[in-house]
């Protein structure tokens, strides 16, 4: 339950083996390419390269193909493969099994491709161009359709001696502008229709021929999009549509004939194209990695991040090619602060689905503690307390179960939240909103309904208690994160560190003492409150004093103090709002029973049983959909605003193993 430990591998080998080594590295799908090369000398480990050169390999002449060239060859070939597969109606997919089995080279792939091109290339090209033509004609047809008066003959306007015309569209904001300056325009602008597919208006612009250049520039300034109707279509729009329709028909027939002529070889070609596609993708990726590699006199090296547990897999893959390689392993600690290792969260079956909630906020940095386990517990508790019901919880549980196959994380989340809701349903004694009064057999720890006057204060207080516990955990996590990063100023003396927590607890204790729940003298919490506030304000000089850094203030004392006093005021306000915020947990628990009570009252007014049941059913559906959503949002809000702010650093880079896509 943490963030996966990563190590940086420098893989060193002979340029002669580079191609095969990189191929295996890609196919093992365990290595994340280190992109952070600009960070000064942190990654330089030339010793390993020199050792490799002197001990394992003797200098020699190695020829490596220019990756730039391979890349452009792959690009061109992939274009033709895609064109061919489009024409043949094949969907291309990455299939690792094709690649691991064969040793088909780029050259062979190119040759096979040109053979296919030679035999069916021309016909496929024709099919594709005809398909494109169909799309263009359909678009043209749509535009012609948008002209309401289909009998206008544009041919007549085009025959005018002194005038020219254009049909097209322009953006909405320019419409108002054109209107305002209409008297200065040298053209007539008329709206002639609306295009349904793009919800744009179609305009015709008519202008004297002598103002052509002027009008062109003007149209450009309003983002004019000219609509060109090829001259071969004659007559009015309705006649043109007819001509287009018959042309569409004939093109479709042509496609049918062409497709039939290539049908016989389709299966063979399909297999070959699949293979070529996969090889090209692989070669392209290898070329990309070659560009990232560094070269010594007679060795190459590449830096990749690997999970600690994945070193063996990578080594095994590399060693399958040659034994003349060397892998130097460095942990992120050996590399200093400038280096950012990628993050991959690692959680047990219970907390795994809650990674979704954490990632929605941001990806934790490698050096921080993964908050997912904490979120899993507090989220379940918050949701359960606010939405405790055995029956409704079971509905969520079931929905999660069904959803799990299609959307694993969301399904898992619903299962856990549903279960939590059922557990708290047993505490409140609630089954689809019905309570012990209606169903005496349901389990329940409360004496009576949650809404009974004895229970209300208890539920509200338990909401706040939950808040105090959740915030305490957040402060601990925040402190641990700062200390882990060596930040004593924030970790010990900062507002989310130890003294921030002392301030928070003193604040709570002051209120407790004021109300008289616990009998302690008021002066005790007030004193610790004030001391911690002073420490919060003076955190930087204190931290510098302790760690022996000088000067005590990193900037001028005046501006530091102004800033930190204001920050202290903000801390006071946010502590207040943080604590009050958790009252909602209790309030929503009451609201849950209250909402059902309303439906209960309405149902009792109904004259017969079926209607009563109907009202209760509608009530339950509304509660399940609407209130469930609100409670989910409230839980998210509590976590994102009140808790994450205390410990979350974020800015992590996702661990993305190199693989074909």
């Amino acid at each position: 339950m943490a963030i996966e430990k990563m190590v940086l591998l420098k893989i060193i080998g002979s340029p002669d083996n580079m191609h095969s080594m990189l191929k295996e590295l890609i196919l093992c799908e365990n290595a994340h390419l280190n992109m952070n090369t600009e960070s000064n000398g942190a990654y330089n480990n030339y010793l390993a390269v020199h050792q490799y050169e002197s001990e394992i390999i003797s200098p020699g002449v190695h020829s490596v193909e220019d990756p730039e060239e391979v890349h452009s060859v792959c690009d061109d070939c992939l274009d033709s493969v895609e064109e061919l597969s489009h024409g043949l109606g094949i969907e291309l997919k990455i299939d690792k099994s094709i690649l691991s089995k064969n040793s088909y080279s780029l050259e062979e792939a190119k040759q096979t491709l040109s053979k296919i091109q030679l035999s069916i290339g021309e016909r496929v090209k024709q099919i594709n161009s005809k398909k494109k033509q169909i799309n263009e004609l359909l678009e043209l047809r749509g535009k012609l359709e948008s002209i309401p008066d289909k009998d206008v003959d544009f041919g007549k306007i085009s025959k005018l001696n002194y005038f020219e015309y254009e049909v097209g569209t322009f953006s909405v904001e320019n419409k108002a502008r054109l209107k305002r300056n209409y008297e200065n325009l040298s053209a007539i602008v008329l709206k002639i229709g609306s295009i349904k597919s793009s919800s744009e208006d179609l305009y015709v612009v008519i202008y004297p021929k002598q103002f052509k250049e002027e009008t062109d520039k003007l149209l450009k300034s309003i983002n004019w999009n000219k609509f060109t109707i090829p001259e071969k279509y004659m007559g009015s729009p309705s006649e043109k549509i007819k001509q287009i329709d018959s042309e569409l028909e004939s093109i479709k027939n042509d496609i049918k004939v062409l497709s039939k002529s290539i049908e016989d070889e389709k299966e063979d070609n399909k297999k070959a194209l699949f293979k070529i596609y996969n090889v090209l993708k692989l070669e392209d990726k290898i070329a990309e990695l070659e560009q990232r590699a560094e070269f010594g006199n007679s060795a190459f090296s590449i830096d990749v991040w690997v999970k600690e547990g994945g070193i063996e897999t990578v080594e095994k893959a590399i060693s399958s090619v040659t034994d003349k390689y060397r892998i130097s392993v460095k942990s992120e600690k050996d590399l200093g602060d400038d280096v950012t290792a990628p993050t991959e969260l690692k959680n047990n079956w219970f907390s795994k689905p809650f990674e979704m909630i954490v990632k929605m906020y941001g990806l934790p940095a490698y050096k921080e503690i993964d908050p997912t386990p904490l979120v899993a517990v507090t989220f379940c508790l918050a949701f359960g307390i606010m939405f405790g019901d055995i029956g409704q919880g079971f509905v969520y549980f079931l929905a999660g179960f069904l959803l799990r196959k299609k959307w694993e994380d969301a399904g898992g989340l619903a299962i856990r939240l549903g279960a939590s809701s059922m557990i708290f349903g047993c505490v409140y004694g609630s089954f689809f909103g019905l309570e012990k009064a209606e169903l005496p057999w349901i389990p329940g720890l409360l004496n009576g309904s949650p809404l009974s006057p004895d229970n209300i204060p208890m539920i509200l207080v338990s909401g706040i208690l939950f808040g105090i516990v959740a915030l305490t955990a957040s402060y601990i996590l925040g402190t641990a994160n700062s200390l882990k990063n060596g930040d004593i100023e924030q970790g010990v003396f900062g507002k989310n560190g130890i003294f921030g927590y002392v301030f928070f607890i003193s604040f709570i204790m002051s209120i407790v003492a004021l109300i008289g729940i616990i009998n302690i003298p008021m002066s005790v919490p007030i004193t610790t409150l004030l001391i911690s506030l002073v420490v919060l304000i003076l955190r930087q000089p204190i931290a510098n004093l302790i760690s022996g850094r000088r000067p005590l203030f990193n900037e001028s004392p005046g501006s530091y103090l102004t800033e930190s006093i204001f920050e202290a005021i903000e801390t006071i306000l946010s502590t207040l709002s943080n604590s009050i915020s958790f009252v909602r947990v209790g309030a929503f628990a009451l609201n849950h029973s209250g909402l059902f009570l309303a439906f209960m009252v309405i149902s009792e007014m109904m004259p017969n049983m079926p209607l009563r049941i109907l009202i209760l059913l509608v009530g339950n559906i509304l509660i399940l959909s609407l209130e469930g959503l609100i409670v989910l949002i409230q839980s998210l809000r509590l976590h994102y605003y009140e808790m994450f702010g205390k410990y979350f650093i974020g800015g992590g880079v996702v661990f993305k193993p190199i693989k074909l896509s």
Binding site: N223, S559, E563, E570
Partner: protein, 350 residues
């Protein structure tokens, strides 16, 4: 989160940042430094300005690389400010980052239209890598303007650029620039409409003023240097100004001479932004009308106090002034311009 509550923190943070950036002793040291190397050292000793140098990760010291680093200051500062906002307010501040994105986009289009190599362009990029809406890595693989525009589909910029051709981008650079600005300010206003009324009014005031100044610069340049029709000038100008609405813009576009334009502008702005233009002396007007506009902006914002989103916007626009001034200083130091002369070119008078 109640956005008003966060303004305490934002305002303090901004006040502190402003104090550090505009520290008089530092500025005196900048102007008095004797070489670009020394100037860079002094820049780096300033906590705020050093952030831009860290972000750009430059190691060599020359005028060009210093300017590249300075240009990143605004992005770095906006990214930091974003921590203090949430919800619609965060979205709004994020739209302010589009200006840098547009500047990088224009740079790529310009390079492509001039058929220059895109190899080292990414080093000059100033946009926020965290919040960009455009895949710049993909854009850099374009071979010409058409391909680039095609790659912009699904971005807010596509609609205004779709009929831009390479030749057009080369000969009429302003077309692209002004159209991209239309998108920027549309987006800013769109995001601002979701804010509270007080905040929306602050946007209308400050962003409106910026638009006024941009329009004045555009029309001034169009009349003076480019041979464009008044209708075109009008169509390219921006909407949403504070003092100069479309009606007034129209009057400015149709002014018969620069003299008439200046007279009208003076009247609309209630201030003569052309008074200090040493353009007539140096002939280097493009830079100078920009400095004059920035200087006006600076003086306007200098004494204003906002207890709403205005504080953040005015800080962001202040950074434009600062970056322009620091760039001028770097150039001045490089070419050994005397201190008194150099001060004349700055919007921020120490």
């Amino acid at each position: 989160m109640n956005p008003n509550m966060a303004f305490y923190a934002v305002n303090t943070k901004i006040a502190a940042k402003k104090g550090r950036i505009l520290k008089k002793e530092d500025w005196n040291k900048y102007i008095e430094s004797t070489s670009v190397e020394k100037l860079t050292e002094i820049f780096k000793s300033n906590v705020e300005i050093n952030k831009a140098f860290r972000e750009s990760g430059i190691s060599s010291v020359n005028r060009d690389s210093v300017e590249i680093a300075l240009n990143k200051l605004k992005t770095v500062e906006i990214e930091e400010l974003l921590h203090y906002f949430s919800g619609e307010y965060k979205e709004f501040i994020r739209t302010m980052l589009m200006e840098e994105e547009i500047s990088d986009l224009s740079l790529v289009i310009r390079k492509l239209s001039r058929e220059e190599s895109l190899n080292e362009v990414s080093e000059r990029f100033v946009h926020s890598k965290l919040f960009t809406t455009v895949d710049f890595d993909d854009l850099l693989t374009s071979k010409d303007v058409d391909q680039l525009i095609d790659k912009l589909k699904k971005t807010p910029y596509y609609n205004v650029l779709r009929n831009l051709t390479g030749e057009h981008a080369l000969k009429r650079e302003f077309h692209m620039e002004m159209k991209l600005h239309v998108v920027l300010y549309n987006k800013i206003y769109e995001a601002a409409k979701k804010l509270d009324k007080v905040d929306f009014n602050a946007v209308k005031e400050i962003v409106g003023l910026k638009i006024d100044l941009l329009n004045l610069q555009w029309i001034y340049r169009a009349i003076k240097y480019y041979n464009i029709l008044p209708e075109e000038i009008f169509n390219y100008s921006l909407e949403g100004g504070k003092n100069i609405d479309l009606k007034k813009i129209r009057k400015l576009c149709y002014s018969k001479s620069i003299k008439e334009f200046k007279r009208l502008a003076r009247g609309f702005l209630d201030y003569d932004i052309f008074q200090d233009l040493n353009a007539e002396k140096t002939g280097d007007t493009e830079i100078d009308i920009n400095t004059a506009a920035l200087s006006y902006m600076f003086n306007y914002l200098k004494d204003k106090r906002y207890y709403n989103i205005g504080a953040a916007i005015s800080f962001i626009y202040l950074l434009d002034v600062v970056i322009n001034d620091l760039t001028s200083i770097t150039e001045g130091i490089k070419y050994h311009v005397p201190k008194e002369k150099l001060e004349e070119y700055l919007a921020y008078r120490v």
